[in-house]
């Protein structure tokens, strides 16, 4: 039924409109990114300066988010720590993207031994819980931001590898790829020209969602003391440090928690918007 309806409209090319969800998500996310990047210079107080007299002050005009157990201004610390959370989220996503997608596409292209080798290794990674994987890497060496990013990135390689393999397998069966084989094209040309342009929409969408999980996992690792170390003010670390005073001074954990939530929601909105925008199934040829 719908097929009949779309068939005729399809013939007239309409420029695709950006979904509102995407615009809203991008707007919120850009504000957060800008604030996180220049936040260091916006801090009203030194984020690391102790002030014994103003310990655990509730929110006021002088300290809009209150102060923590050392009398440090929570707003300043949130502003100064945002770039760390973002770095973990996007950095880890980039690592898993750059390693996972080529692995997955190669596995799809070279069925047989290569595929089995890649996919079984990936299965091995999946069998380890992400936190445990992070612990393995971080426990043996001193923790640092870079290592957190690598640990989180490694944890998400299997998901992207499996996704791109599945997408690649479907696309390799398509006739236009068979036509490339009929021209005797090499593996790289086929993967780069024919497969990747059609595979990236679902992969990008998955990445959008992965950023969220990566930030959460990064925060969880920081919370466990395996991420950036005090006095750094990564948001997950701040939440971890605030748990002892949760009943007396909930604002200490609330401020970074809220910021993290807004960040996650905006990333999710971008992911959702991208899905709506890029997925040809949802917008274009729904004829059948």
């Amino acid at each position: 039924m719908i097929a009949v309806a779309t068939n005729a409209t399809m013939l007239i090319a309409t420029p695709r409109r950006l979904p509102t969800v995407l615009l809203f998500g991008v707007a919120v996310l850009s504000v957060i990114v800008v604030v996180a990047v220049i936040g260091i210079w916006l801090t009203p107080y030194d984020p690391t300066a102790f002030a014994v007299r103003s310990r655990l002050l509730p929110p006021s005009t002088a300290h809009p988010f209150g102060t923590d157990e050392f009398g440090r201004d929570v707003l300043s610390r949130v502003l100064a720590g945002g770039h760390l959370s973002l770095a973990i989220g996007f950095g880890a996503m980039l690592i898993s993207l750059l390693i996972g997608v080529p692995l997955g596409l190669l596995a799809a292209f070279h069925r047989g031994v290569t595929e089995a080798a890649i996919m079984r290794t990936v299965d091995l990674l999946i069998s380890l819980p992400p936190v445990l994987l992070g612990l393995l890497i971080l426990a043996v060496t001193p923790p640092s931001l870079g290592k957190t990013i690598i640990a989180v990135g490694l944890a998400y390689i299997p998901i992207l590898a499996r996704l791109s393999r599945a997408v690649g397998l479907g696309l390799l069966r398509e006739d236009f790829v068979q036509a490339a084989f009929a021209r005797g094209e090499g593996a790289l040309v086929i993967l780069w020209h024919e497969i990747l342009p059609n595979a990236w929409p679902p992969i990008i969408v998955e990445c959008g969602l992965r950023v969220t999980f990566a930030i959460l996992l990064g925060s969880a690792l920081s919370f466990l003391g395996l991420g950036p170390q005090p006095p750094s003010s990564e948001w997950g670390l701040m939440i971890a440090e605030s748990r002892e005073f949760l009943t007396q001074a909930p604002w200490v954990g609330l401020a970074p928690g809220l910021c993290l939530s807004v960040l996650l929601v905006s990333v999710n909105l971008v992911g959702e918007g991208l899905r709506e925008w890029l997925d040809p199934q949802l917008t274009e040829h729904s004829h059948g």
Binding site: M1, I2, A3, V4, A5, N7, A8, T9, M10, L11, I12, A13, T14, G112, V113, E115, A116, E174, D175, F176, Q178, A179, A180, F181, A182, R183, G184, E185, H193, E194, P197, N198, P280, E284, H285
Partner: protein, 702 residues
């Protein structure tokens, strides 16, 4: 209560009123540009016990009629009707209580309709439990009876099967059984045989015909296939862009079409029994915009007879055989005009087609090609559990001469496509040799072979990369084989588009901006870009509407004449093969069973399988003939024998045990015509021809 009322109603008004009556049905769907009018003032009626055919191409709105009758259009659709009644009950309000109970429905894709997680039995028995309130054991035994009536062998066993264990034809039989379980008065058939092989299609049509005779069932058959409508229906209505353009008795409409659209459809249809000297007559243009509808004749832009006055609104005129055309009287004796041949642009230098000294030397020669597909992954393979797998192509030898069109026919799954890909070395063979233009082709062929042997696909939606423009799609082969560079590239793309009769502006378009036929032509242009000598056309026209199919068939034939390209033309449609091919190879379960010139294969002697195929082809104007008993309405219960003839399980002319034990020999009938069968040629020669000498529909072909 309800039933008593209905019976009384029947007694009072029953015989005078049609079972189904629709007057002025209009359906519209909301779109961003306004209402899309899928149906515009459609009136149909089906008397009790009659079968009405509803014919139209894709987008004509035929499925909307079915959905409107079932009340399944969804809340966003706008449905209006002056009168829509089934047996005196208003369908606009009562459809939910009638569908499934008194109106049964069979859809095209039964594998999507049957629930894969439930047994066949529980799905056939369900309407009996729900609508007829039988007890579970009664419902089960009644369902088993129904399956037996549908011609399913061993129904008690099939009841316990899951849908994936059944063949396509069996699933469609189960679908019909489910629809009939509640003993409906009207059966809606929405493209019921489109997904089936021609032999199975013939069996299903026989089954439906029998049901109608035995039970007095009324049916509405919705199809794009004119021949099956003619086979099954008393009356027919032709739908074009949401309007009924012509209606009347099936025999009358198909033998003396009045509306230009019907004339065009019949002229565009390749028919195996008519000698086509050359070209089909396509209908130019595409479906009109259904949002901004034309109050006048909406076929006008594509009509060969359109003149002044056609922009006026019009109604169905005539007494029993009605047509919606202003000029119906003037054009009554005029046939649809043949397509004017484009004075061939000859964009490439005309190559010497025959390059060797022997004009008969084959361009492509395959000897003993075999290919099996194994199931299971690497681990099963390592542990030796993979097994031999399915033998898709079994020891096939085939030769194709330069500039020759070889048709390859067979049922789905017989290995046609695999053979095509083996000839292009897209699939590596397990055994056999491939020679191309006199040289052996290695397992990994060089660029020269890749350039000279190309492929055109079936599905226009998947054959083009959706993220590349037409220009980019055509540019890639040009660069790959160093055919054109720089400025010459754009020139060459323009020539390729001209070659497939597309305007040069299409180079900037993306595939989703093209219609199915245009996409298919871009696919052909891409294959031609390498200037090949050999093309494999894998069901190239199967997904297209009849009018578009004619355009593509004419184009392929012209290209052969202009460029001397040889084709392997794979198709399940005998009409298409008979129209385009010079020679035909018939394939059954991976083996060739007959090979010869197109005229030889279409006439006796032929292989019993060829005979079964040909007798199953629905042809307009062909009534039940003496050949019909060749196929029973039962599902063939044949498992292939390993050592003997593969067809022996289904063969109606089986000789005896020799068919099961010894592989059949190739028998030479004539020069280039051979049959692989144990039956002596003299016996095969006495088989009655599958076509009566003359058919009434020939007259319509002008």
């Amino acid at each position: 209560m309800d039933e008593i009322q209905t019976t009384m109603h029947d007694a009072l008004s029953g015989l005078h009123r049609p079972l189904l009556e629709i007057a002025g049905l209009s359906v519209a769907y909301p779109t961003s540009r306004g209402w899309l009018r899928a149906l515009d003032d459609v009136s149909l009626s089906i008397p009790a016990g009659a079968v009405l055919g509803l014919v139209g191409e894709s987008g004509s709105g035929k499925s909307s009629v079915v959905m409107a009758l079932l009340g399944l259009l969804g809340s966003s659709a706008r449905v209006r009707a002056a009168h829509m009644a089934f047996d005196g009950q208003d369908l606009l309000t009562r459809a939910p209580s009638l569908r499934g109970r008194r109106i049964g429905v069979v859809f095209q894709d039964t594998s999507a309709v049957l629930n894969p997680a439930l047994t066949v039995g529980s799905q056939v028995a369900e309407p009996l439990l729900v609508h007829r309130r039988l007890r579970r054991s009664e419902a089960w035994s009644r369902a088993t009876e129904l399956l037996a009536e549908m011609g399913i062998a061993r129904p008690a066993q099939v009841m316990h099967c899951y849908p994936h264990q059944l063949s396509g034809g069996m699933k469609q039989r189960v679908g019909i059984a489910t629809a009939l379980a509640s003993e409906p008065d009207l059966l809606l058939l929405d493209e019921p045989t489109t997904a089936l092989d021609v032999t199975v299609e013939a069996q299903i049509l026989d089954l439906l015909d029998g049901l109608r005779v035995r039970h007095g069932l009324s049916m509405l058959l919705v199809s794009h296939n004119l021949a099956i409508v003619d086979r099954l229906c008393d009356r027919v209505a032709v739908l074009y862009a949401g309007r009924v353009t012509e209606t009347g008795a099936a025999a009358s409409v198909f033998s003396r079409p009045r509306h230009p659209y019907t004339k065009g459809l019949l002229a565009a249809l390749p028919r195996p029994h008519l000698a086509h000297p050359g070209r089909l007559s396509p209908i130019a243009g595409r479906l009109p915009d259904l949002v901004a509808t034309d109050p006048g004749c909406n076929f006008r832009p594509r009509c060969a007879f359109a003149g002044t006055g056609c922009e006026q609104p019009q109604a169905l005129l005539g007494h029993d055989h009605q047509a919606r055309c202003h000029r119906v009287g003037e054009i009554a004796r005029m046939p649809w005009p043949a397509e004017v041949s484009h004075g061939s642009p000859v964009p490439f230098r005309k190559r010497s087609v025959v390059r060797s000294e022997h004009p008969e030397a084959p361009l492509v020669q395959a000897t003993g090609l075999s290919r099996a597909f194994t199931t299971g992954g690497l681990l099963q393979g390592l542990f030796g559990k993979g097994g031999r797998g399915v033998l898709a192509v079994d020891d096939v030898s085939l030769a194709i001469r330069p500039g020759e069109i070889v048709g390859l026919v067979g049922e789905s799954g017989c290995g046609k496509s695999t053979l095509g890909r083996l000839l292009l070395r897209l699939v590596p063979p397990d055994a056999g040799r491939l020679r191309f233009d006199g040289t052996d082709i290695a397992a990994r062929p060089g660029l020269d072979f890749r350039r000279r042997a190309q492929i055109v696909f079936q599905n226009p939606d998947t054959s083009l990369n959706p993220r590349q423009t037409v220009g980019a799609i055509l540019r890639r082969p040009l660069r790959r084989f160093g055919i054109a560079r720089g400025g010459a590239e754009a020139l060459e793309i323009g020539r390729l588009l001209e070659l497939v009769r597309l305007p040069p502006g299409f180079a900037d378009r993306y595939p989703h901006q093209l219609s199915g036929g245009e996409k298919q032509r871009v696919g052909i242009a891409r294959a031609l870009a390498t200037r090949p000598d050999f093309l494999v056309c894998d069901e190239t026209v199967s997904a297209l509407d009849v009018s578009v199919q004619a355009v593509v068939l004419n184009l392929l034939r012209d290209l052969r004449d202009e460029l001397g390209v040889a084709y392997l033309f794979i198709s399940h449609d005998i009409g298409v093969i008979a129209h385009i091919a010079d020679r035909v190879a018939v394939m059954y379960q991976g083996s060739l069973v007959e090979e010869g010139g197109v005229r030889d294969v279409l006439h006796p002697p032929y292989h019993p399988y060829t005979e079964a195929l040909l007798c199953s082809v629905p042809i307009i104007g062909k009534r039940r003939g003496p050949t019909d008993e060749l196929r029973s309405t039962k599902e063939a219960d044949g498992s292939a024998t390993v050592s003997g003839c593969k067809f022996s399980g289904r063969c109606p002319r089986k000789q005896g045990p020799i068919c099961d034990t010894a592989p059949p020999p190739w028998q030479e009938v004539d020069r280039g015509h051979r049959i692989r069968c144990h039956i002596p040629l003299a016996t095969l020669n006495d088989v009655p021809p599958w076509l009566p000498a003359r058919l009434p529909a020939d007259a319509a072909h002008g």
